[in-house]
């Protein structure tokens, strides 16, 4: 079961209705939230991806169960266009070596759906919205690396951690969108 913010049942609907309904549902959602769309029309797979791309949303992936597709779409987040503020960063390519050092942890601050479809082995899933609450459990002496899709949510997460008194925090850029190393997918679906 993949955790999302909302589910839209478009089963049995033929084109164009799944897209029309998805578009309407997205309007009522908050930036960064994830919508699950269930559909049975095979044409929806290509069309939802093309629509999301054109509308600026992030098509996270889909899982097929019997005749039903479960699609996961994350609403466009305008914050992603903002300038990054947290000064300590490393490039994706340097991360693998850093993680081999003792006393390090990698936090993935994307939504649980995004994490489920593709994450770096060993990364802990801590969605940005839950970070403040969970920060109390982390060790302030640890080296903390933070990753998201494009480096923006992780930038905000680094600032949050820094304000909470964490000194050894590093933002990984550009993030999962440019990651070429190993990944794990726990959904059984396709990205």
């Amino acid at each position: 079961m993949i955790q999302t913010d909302r589910m839209l049942d478009a089963k049995g609907l033929a084109c164009p209705m799944p897209i029309v309904r998805t578009r309407k549902a997205m309007k009522d959602m908050l930036e960064g939230q994830v919508l699950e769309v269930q559909s049975t029309d095979p044409g929806t797979v290509a069309d939802l991806q093309a629509w999301a791309k054109s509308a600026g949303h992030h098509y996270v992936g889909n899982v097929q169960e019997a005749d039903v597709w479960h699609h996961y779409v994350r609403k466009a987040d305008n914050g992603e266009l903002q300038e990054k503020k947290y000064p300590v960063t490393i490039m994706n390519e340097q991360l693998t070596d850093k993680l081999r050092e003792p006393n390090t942890v990698l936090l993935d601050v994307r939504e649980p759906t995004e994490y489920a479809f593709s994450h770096i082995p060993g990364a802990l899933s801590v969605p940005l919205g839950q970070l403040e609450e969970k920060a109390a459990y982390f060790d302030k002496n640890q080296n903390i690396f933070v990753i998201c899709r494009t480096g923006n949510r992780s930038d905000m997460a680094c600032q949050t951690l820094s304000e909470a008194g964490f000194e050894f925090v590093t933002n990984v850029v550009p993030g999962m969108s440019g990651w070429n190393g190993d990944t794990e997918n726990t959904t059984g679906g396709t990205k």
Binding site: A14, C15, P16, M17, I19, P42, A50, W51, S54
Partner: protein, 373 residues
């Protein structure tokens, strides 16, 4: 707003009438295949870009010509056509969408046979597949049937003939054969080249070179001619001493590719032997009827795809490469992408898997790619 059937669009394309198509499928689907024609103009805007209205594309739409809106199945095209209709455009949508276009067969009479029969070609214009019906004295044979078998059954009923023989020139890799289904429904004999049928899971009659098949009492001969190269079993048919059905060995403007059922390197020699030696011995007056066409230019004015063998020996580049090495290079070095799902299609045609109709449809999506040019 009106619904246009695939058959009407096919006739417009064949007659080279001007046609403006607003294709509202997503860009990838449009790039993969579309309705082609000499006088067809296209505009591709996915339907989901038009949900708020058509203002943004209005400058590009013709005001004095009917707009044909096309999508995958028809739902989205109706929505967009409605919007255009409200704005006062002359507009139509393709009934059944590209699905119907892919499945439409346009029957064209190729000619009368010497002893009283007739020969029809079924042009699957959306996919480039060609199949045939030979009739004589109340009986009919169907060659390279597509999976839309009711088209042949209904056509035979209209002509008042009974389908007694169904033949495939080879084991197809680009489309699902309707041969077995049609033969079973009609109580006809299903013929296959034995060398292509070693793994099939059903009974069939073996096409052997010296045994001709007779249609009707007036004796229309279908003479099998072993002509390997596209597949190891590929067999051509000489019909009524006048027509040469070449399957996927020889097309009007190209030749068959040798790699879909094995290795190009292994069969290139067979392909050359068939084209440069076996066919050379035949009469130049024979009219070549292939199992495919690739581009609309290959259609004659009446929509048929047919040309004299002698003319092909003059004009078809693939028949005019004297150097054997150069020929080898053309057919092994230049191969186009393989057809969609061709391995699964071969398995289906062998009877090893039985996908449902919707899956068969998906498997056949896109253009056929059986030729090298």
């Amino acid at each position: 707003m009106r619904a246009i059937q695939a058959s009407e669009v096919a006739k417009k394309v064949i007659r080279e009438e001007p046609l403006f198509i607003l294709d509202v499928r997503n860009e990838d689907a449009f790039k993969d295949w579309k309705i082609d024609g000499k006088q067809v103009r296209h505009m591709n805007v996915p339907y989901f870009e038009l949900l708020d209205g058509i203002e943004e594309i209005e400058d590009s739409l013709p005001k004095d010509q009917e707009i044909l809106v096309v999508c995958a199945k028809e739902g989205s095209s109706i929505m967009v056509a409605d919007m255009l209709d409200e704005e006062g455009y002359s507009v139509a949508y393709l009934q059944g969408g590209m699905k119907a276009w892919s499945e439409h067969l346009e029957p064209v009479k190729v000619g009368d046979l010497k002893s009283g029969g007739e020969l029809y070609q079924f042009v699957r214009i959306g996919k480039g597949c060609l199949s045939y019906m030979v009739t004589s004295d109340g009986e009919a044979a169907v060659v390279d049937a597509t999976r839309m078998t009711n088209v042949y059954s209904e056509f035979a009923d209209q002509l008042g003939v009974k389908i007694t023989h169904v033949l495939d020139t080879h084991l197809h890799a680009d489309h699902i054969s309707g041969g077995r289904k049609l033969a079973e429904a009609a109580g006809a004999t299903y013929w296959l080249p034995p060398k292509d049928a070693e793994e099939v899971t059903f009974n069939f009659a073996a096409l052997e070179e010296d045994a001709s098949i007779q249609i009707g009492k007036t004796k229309i001969d279908i003479q099998p001619l072993y002509s390997p190269g596209h597949t190891i079993g590929s067999t051509s048919f000489i019909v009524d001493d006048s027509y040469l059905m070449t399957g996927d060995i020889l097309f009007i403007d190209s030749i068959g590719r040798p790699d879909l059922a094995g290795l190009a390197e292994d069969w290139v020699g067979d392909l050359r032997e068939s084209l440069y030696s076996r066919y050379q011995e035949l009469s130049e007056e024979l009219i070549v009827l292939p199992a495919h066409f690739m581009i609309m230019d290959e259609l004659n004015d009446d929509g048929s795809v047919a040309e004299k063998l002698g003319v092909l020996y003059e004009r078809n580049h693939g028949l005019n490469i004297e150097d054997e090495e150069q020929f080898r290079e053309l057919v092994t070095g230049n191969l186009p992408p393989q057809p969609n799902a061709y391995q699964e299609i071969r398995q289906t045609n062998m009877g090893k898997v039985q996908p449902d109709e919707e899956t068969q449809r998906e498997m056949e999506i896109g253009p056929n790619r059986c030729a090298v040019r």
